[in-house]
Amino acid sequence: MDVFIQLVVSGISVGMIYATIAFGYQLTFATSRTLNFGQGEALMLGAVVGLSLMPVLGYWAMLPVVLAFGLLQGVVVERLGVARAVAQKSEFGWVMSTIALGVIFKNVAENIWGRDDLKFPSPLPETPVVIAGAHILPMEFLILAGALAMMLAVELFNRRTIWGKAVVATANDSDAAGLMGINTPQIVTLSYAMSSMTAAFAGVLIAPVTLTGATMGTALGLKAFAVAIIGGLTSGLGVIVGGILLGISEKMTGYYLATGYADVPGLFLLLLVLAIRPDGLFGKRAIKKV
C-alpha cells in the first residue's frame, strides 16, 4: 500500500510536468493556432542553462534568470520559425520550422554541455520523508507546487492585466483585437515567450529528480503533446487531469511490470492520438480563421 501511495505521488509530480508543457502548447495554440514542436527542447534548455547558473547563483536565485531566458528563447522561436507562417496564413510552415529549431537547439546543447547525462544538484534534501508509510522525495512536492503556481500565475496574468486581456482577446477574435489597437503579431510573440518560459521552468523543476542533458526534452515534449491533444488544446483542467493520469500509469507500469516499460503508456497514448485523429491533430481545428 505504501509503495502504491509512493507511486501515485511521484506519478502526480511527473504528471504535473507533462501538464505544464501541455499548458505551454495551449498558450501558443490559443493566439495563433500553431504549436511549438520544440517545446521539449525549450524545457531542456531551461534545465541546462539552470545547471550552469547553479554554482554562481544557487537554485532559487537561478529561477528568475531561467524564466527570463525562457521568455527570450520563445521570442527567438516565434520570430524565426512562426511569424512568417502566421502572417501568410500558411498551414504547415510552422510545423517544419519549429521541429527544425528544436533539432538545432539540441545540437547546440550537445556541443556546449556534451552528450552525457549530468547530475542536477537538488535544492531540497534528497532523503525521502515518510508519510503514511510512503517514502516521498521533498522535491516531488516542490514540482507539484511549482507547476501549479506557474499555471496560476499565467492565468492571473491573463485575467487581471491589460496585456493578458489582450492575449485572451486575440485568442477570441484576432481581427477584432486588431481593431482595438492590439498588435496581434506581437501578442503571438508574447504567447510564444510565455510558452517557452513555462517549459524552461518545468525543466528546472524536474531536473533534480531526473538526468539532465541535451536529450532530456524530446520524449517529454512528445508525451506532453499527446496529453495536450487528449486533454484538449483549450482546457487547462484537461491537461492537468491528462498529465496526472499519464504520470501515474507510467510509474505503475515501471514498478509492477518492468522499469524498461515505463515509457510505454505515453507512447501508447501518442499512438492512440494518431489513430483517433490521424489528420485531425492540426486538421480542421488548426486552420486559421480568415
Binding site: D175, A176, L179, I182
Partner: protein
C-alpha cells in the same frame, strides 16, 4: 475628418470596390447605403485596415492611413464597430469595454480618463451596466450590439465606423440603437454609418452615399436623398 479618394479593395484577386470617393466632415454623421453585396462592409474594412486596399488614399484628419495595419489605424483614432459585432465572447462586458481603451491604457494614445469613459458607456447603455461581469458571449444580440458600439467608443475616437448596428435586432431594440446614434451625433462624434434601414439612416444622417456594385452612384444631403425618386424606389420600399 475622414476623406477617401480612389479607394480600390477586394478579396484575393476579386476587386469589390472600384475607386471610391467619400468624405465625412468633422462632427458629421454620414451614411453609406446600398443593397446586399454592394461592398459596404468591404469599404469599412478597407478603411480600418482589416483588409489592405489595392489603391487609393484614406485620410484620417491629415494622415494617410491607407494600407497600415489595423492596430496602427486604431491607435491613430479610428474606431470600427464591425459587422457581426465580434465581441470577445469569453471576456466580461467590462473587460470588452476596457479593451476598447487598450491603446490608451498602454500609452500609445492620449490616455484621458478611462474610468470616467467606462462610467459614461454604462450610463449610455444601462443594460450593460446590469451585466458588467457577465461574459459577452452570453449576452443577447441587442446587448452585444450595444457592447460593440460602447467598446468602439472607448477608444475616444476621432472617427467612428458603424457597420449595421441594427442587424438582427427586434424593432424596439433598433429604435434604442438609433437613439444611441442620435445621442452620439449630438455629442458631435464624427461617424460613418452603414445601415440596412435606409429610411432610419437617412433620418439621422447629415449626408448620404449610395453604393452599387462597388461604385458610388448617388450622393447628397440626407434630407434630399430621402425624396430622390431613384433612392425611394430602390432603398425606401418605393414609398
Amino acid at each position: 475628418m475622414l476623406k477617401i479618394t480612389g479607394l480600390q479593395a477586394g478579396y484575393g484577386k476579386v476587386l469589390v470596390l472600384h475607386g471610391l470617393d467619400l468624405v465625412v466632415p468633422r462632427g458629421n454623421l454620414v451614411t453609406l447605403i446600398g443593397s446586399n453585396g454592394a461592398g459596404k462592409t468591404t469599404t469599412l474594412r478597407a478603411i480600418s485596415g482589416m483588409i489592405k486596399p489595392q489603391a487609393g488614399q484614406v485620410f484620417l484628419d491629415d494622415q494617410d492611413i491607407a494600407g497600415k495595419p489595423s492596430h496602427k489605424i486604431a491607435r491613430a483614432g479610428l474606431a470600427h464597430s464591425p459587422e457581426g459585432r465580434r465581441v470577445f465572447a469569453t471576456l466580461s462586458v467590462e473587460d470588452n469595454l476596457t479593451l476598447g481603451a487598450f491603446s490608451r491604457l498602454i500609452g500609445v494614445r492620449a490616455k484621458g480618463d478611462v474610468s470616467a469613459d467606462l462610467d459614461r458607456a454604462f450610463v449610455m447603455f444601462p443594460r450593460l451596466a446590469e451585466r458588467r461581469k457577465q461574459l459577452a458571449g452570453t449576452l443577447s444580440g441587442g446587448e452585444q450590439q450595444m457592447l460593440a458600439i460602447g467598446r468602439a467608443l472607448m477608444l475616444n475616437p476621432s472617427v467612428l465606423l458603424l457597420d449595421e448596428p441594427s442587424m438582427g435586432l427586434a424593432p424596439l431594440l433598433v429604435a434604442e440603437v438609433f437613439r444611441a446614434i442620435a445621442n452620439l451625433k449630438a455629442q458631435s462624434i464624427t461617424m460613418l454609418l452603414v445601415e440596412q434601414f435606409a429610411a432610419a439612416a437617412l433620418e439621422v444622417a447629415d449626408y448620404a452615399y449610395v453604393l452599387e456594385n462597388g461604385r458610388i452612384t448617388i450622393s447628397g444631403k440626407a434630407a434630399d436623398l430621402k425624396n430622390d425618386p431613384a433612392v425611394k424606389a430602390a432603398y425606401l420600399g418605393g414609398h
